[in-house]
Point group: D2
């Protein structure tokens, strides 16, 4: 069974990653790439400044870029991935939804809307049920599903594993790669021999999105998890891979090995792009792992990698890592798309 | 008044920084440089691979390196700075102390010994009183004073400012520069396009040293501060300057401006190398500061720079930065030396 | 004697460097800062995103930015420095010249115009005589002087020293710092763990400007030097300091020490910002120097540093380095301004 | 047909790359890994600090490391790859050769010996004939074949393509990645925000090895190519991939497109690890390619990538790039091993 998919905003950094990941996808076939008016009508290879480290797939290079409107996208497209800037997406996505499209979006707008599922397939697939609420409230035929921010998605699987011990409070610091800001988001003058202790809006995203992802859905309403989450976000001179230091206060007192075991045994999901094991965990004999350059491509960049687990007075501290433009962006949207197909929404 | 000083372990990265900082010191005159047996007898310029970004002072270049023993150091030296590896220092420093030398040491051994003052002159100058205890217990004529680890010293002045609001719990993540590991401590293969989430022993140093520095001394015994401190330490691809994200739980509920004001108004000290203002604080209009490359040389690298202050559910979060080989190492020892002179121990 | 100076395009990366260098200048007093219409009327501290590693001088922070027009600049300004983008400069500079201003410009437009002196004060001060030609041909009361491109200025002093051996052919490769492209010129995604083997227009600048600088001026016309110069320009992940590998074919056969001696003994010039020695040269015992991070600030960033001199079959090879935004940009314009004052053009 | 192979010096950076590349080799099966006495007897996973970005193949992780002596290597090993330090290799390799082993070595010793073939299979496979000379002169039963230095191998295929136009003189500057120096060869303090204009011995290797590779073998003696080659070698802050700027003086005057065409049409070779096309060439519409991060893995890191071709007064200038630890080291030795099998030497 082939699902025809399209990419809204296909020429940017995340758009290019979508194309790379979809290149050998078993069921998704790329049938439309959209961009701004200025790029419409051009061959994809002309419209995009291709900067991924594998060649452009030949058939995509020659594909014509169309404008980001429902009219311009071919009718046989069943599923759209969105990597539009959030300002654009908040205008454009509703038009596609009114037109009946199913959209799996990486854009940050509407992630916290009470009727929009924010989903990591292994963590909260049941939240897709919010689509019914959404359709009722908004009168849409389509469906809008969001994946979380790259820094949120790196941490939440590990928090989900900890929740069995009673997750109460989270303090997290991030060491984020420059690719998270897009191709031109961080200048070289800003980051060489330097670090930036602020990423606009990022801390709030981590604090709110994580509580929604870990929240419970009763079929009608979604309750946020009541953990107190506070984040400090930093940009460092790495290309890909967000590394995070987490301090978690817990109700119970598991030892380090119980925490590692809880992470390792967190169930995965049977979808084409899902990793075999969601969280890989380094033991105490390798305290200097995970590292961005060595571990970001674990399971094709779709796994989370943790390590450095140690108990504290009130809980546990540890480090976690994920590939921010794969598991944290394009791969996350594709996985949500696979879940939508699996669950029959497409 | 001129004080003749010597440097134990003068050829390494911190030793070179000592020489650079002492070059134009108003009262300290460098009279002895020691190194391992292999270097003894050589001109300093031959023994050291000079890698600081100012030229070797000419008179030091021609100075003869002597072995690190009390016999080899000239008798008229009044004060010794130590930047020996801790394994060497724990053997060698006692020999100098038995011989009556006053040693201001950057080496990590004995920092937590109950009779050794661990001092930041602006924060806990009264702890020097431990020298009396030390002399009594060890039968030394000299005096041994330690400065804290570079990552500790970056944070503690800000914690000291917060203590008026009832400091209860600290969670801190560090983004540390490679110079903290010495000239060959971190290879380029380890750190380019990467970050290392572990620095051996560093987290424990931050957790224990900070409680000693903030502790109270009653003239006989030193009580550690009872805050719960937990740290995660990371190495990132920067040359100099440690950046730290601090989450502090407080008994009271100051707002962000009260916290900034408490930091800005922390008293300094009147010593030659001390900064005019100990903590510089960026306001909310510059949330992306401090940054290592732009702010590490504030007040010749002797100030701490803070920013990003925001309240949390249980206290406050903020970032702080200091130059790790100046304020965090050689400059810290020199400032302790100035305090020893000022207080009449030399 | 105080000379009132202004900066055209004062808010950009080079503009900020001008302000830093002029801060303690013995005779130049900054009296005007201009920028685009959008910034006019603002305080300088608001208009510029200050990114130099020393604080904004207080009196400049409060200075009002004016538009880049002759009308907006106060009449008592005697000398203007220009760091405008070349596209803007080619429109705006003539207006100032018609109005009688003397402009020392770092902008690349008109550098190769036959009636515009392109000057390095130590190398070709006599080329200032072209101002007479310029005034006659253009009917200007003012005077326009250019300094060369940052990559050219790094190499030309060494070529000038070699010319006594009959300079015939030059092949040069550059390893250029990102600051040469301005604050946002190179993105972090482009340069981390990477190098860019192309800088638009740079190779041609090196090839033509160097021949003009080394050319001879007979009082009426300027003849280009007839050396065959070919350049390959690369951007690498360094902040400041251009390093260059030069292969020079010579008519004579000097040995390496004669070449080093010719470089070291190249005469300097007695101007406030000039280095004591124009070219510092490392000998064969330090083949790994010059290095950007260690050597770029030699003599406050105004010296050229050479090393690695070795003979080849047809001449010599060596490396040279200069600070691209000091000796290669703002400092170069200031030095030309000092020469203009010294020679009585102001 | 399976060939049992071993790796001499299997725990270092190049040794790890050998293991990674051999993991899915169609005919070579890894049967022995050697290291120094200190590592002998350990499991490979314990002896090596694995730092390649794919996991250790499981069966290798458990393999026992043996000492680097002919006695310790199993008798059924047909072919040895050597990535020993050259000082060690010059002692150890002869022992294996006397014992009849065929050794395809990446170590730099003996590369210029007149009876040792220095081979790139696509360029000079006929030089393998030197093995007969070698056996006669040295009385060995085995055979010793060397591949060139990583910086040489990046350039020589392009020079071979140019030779049809009469290659007369080469001036080359390199921008080399840190992995070329081994895991601990370049410290982070040396290279962050910096470049090193010297790599010990590297320039001479490029100058001599390239002339041997391009030389002609008449069945008895090898004549070096008579081009005048001079190199300047630099280390820059990249992980993998050597970028080189070449200036080549030619007897004829091809235009840029003829040069590109000559490079593109250079014949490849039909061996398992050989790339489909030896030299990939970017045209004038992409002057900023090749770039290390984007292009180093072209054809699994076994291709050379060129670009920036422009004519000069006396020939041509261009840039070339190859993956230094794949095409430039482990992959080069493996390809030579494949050639030895193909030609019947094993």
């Amino acid at each position: 069974m082939t699902v025809h998919v399209g990419i809204l905003g296909a020429t940017g950094a995340v758009g290019q990653r979508f194309i790379q990941l979809l290149d050998e996808h078993p069921t998704f076939e790329l049938a439309a790439v959209t961009a701004s008016e200025a790029s419409a009508g051009k061959r994809y290879a002309e419209a995009a400044k291709w900067r991924v480290d594998t060649p452009i797939p030949e058939e995509i290079a020659d594909m014509e870029v169309v404008e980001t409107t429902p009219e311009a996208v071919p009718d046989d497209v069943d599923l759209l991935f969105s990597s539009l800037p959030s300002g654009v997406a908040s205008d454009v996505e509703p038009a596609f939804l009114e037109d009946g499209y199913v959209v799996s979006s990486n854009s940050s707008n509407d992630r916290m809307a009470p009727d929009v599922p924010l989903t990591i397939p292994e963590i909260n697939p049941d939240h897709l049920g919010l689509i019914e609420v959404q359709r009722e409230e908004r009168g849409w035929d389509g469906a809008l599903v969001k994946n979380p921010n790259c820094s949120t998605i790196t941490m939440v699987p590990t928090l989900s594993a900890l929740d069995e011990f009673g997750l109460e409070r989270v303090r997290v610091s991030t060491l984020q790669a420059v690719s998270g800001a897009g191709y031109s988001g961080v200048t070289s003058m800003e980051i060489i021999d330097n670090a930036l202790p602020h990423i606009g809006g990022e801390e709030e995203k981590m604090e709110t999105e994580s509580r929604k992802l870990l929240g419970s859905f009763d079929g009608a309403e979604l309750d946020l998890h009541d953990a107190d989450v506070s984040a400090s976000c930093n940009r460092i001179p790495t290309i890909d891979g967000h590394l995070e230091n987490v301090f978690a206060a817990l109700a119970e007192e598991p030892d380090a090995e119980e925490v590692r075991e809880a992470m390792r045994s967190l169930p995965g999901i049977d979808l084409p792009s899902a990793p075999d094991q969601l969280i890989h965990v380094f033991g105490e004999e390798q305290p200097d792992r995970p590292q961005p350059r060595l571990d970001r491509t674990t399971e094709n960049g779709m796994a989370v990698v943790a390590g450095g687990v140690e108990t504290t007075v009130d809980g546990v501290k540890y480090n976690c890592l994920a590939h921010n433009t794969i598991r944290g962006a394009a791969g996350a949207s594709i996985l949500n798309g696979e879940l939508l197909v699996e669950e029959g929404w497409i």
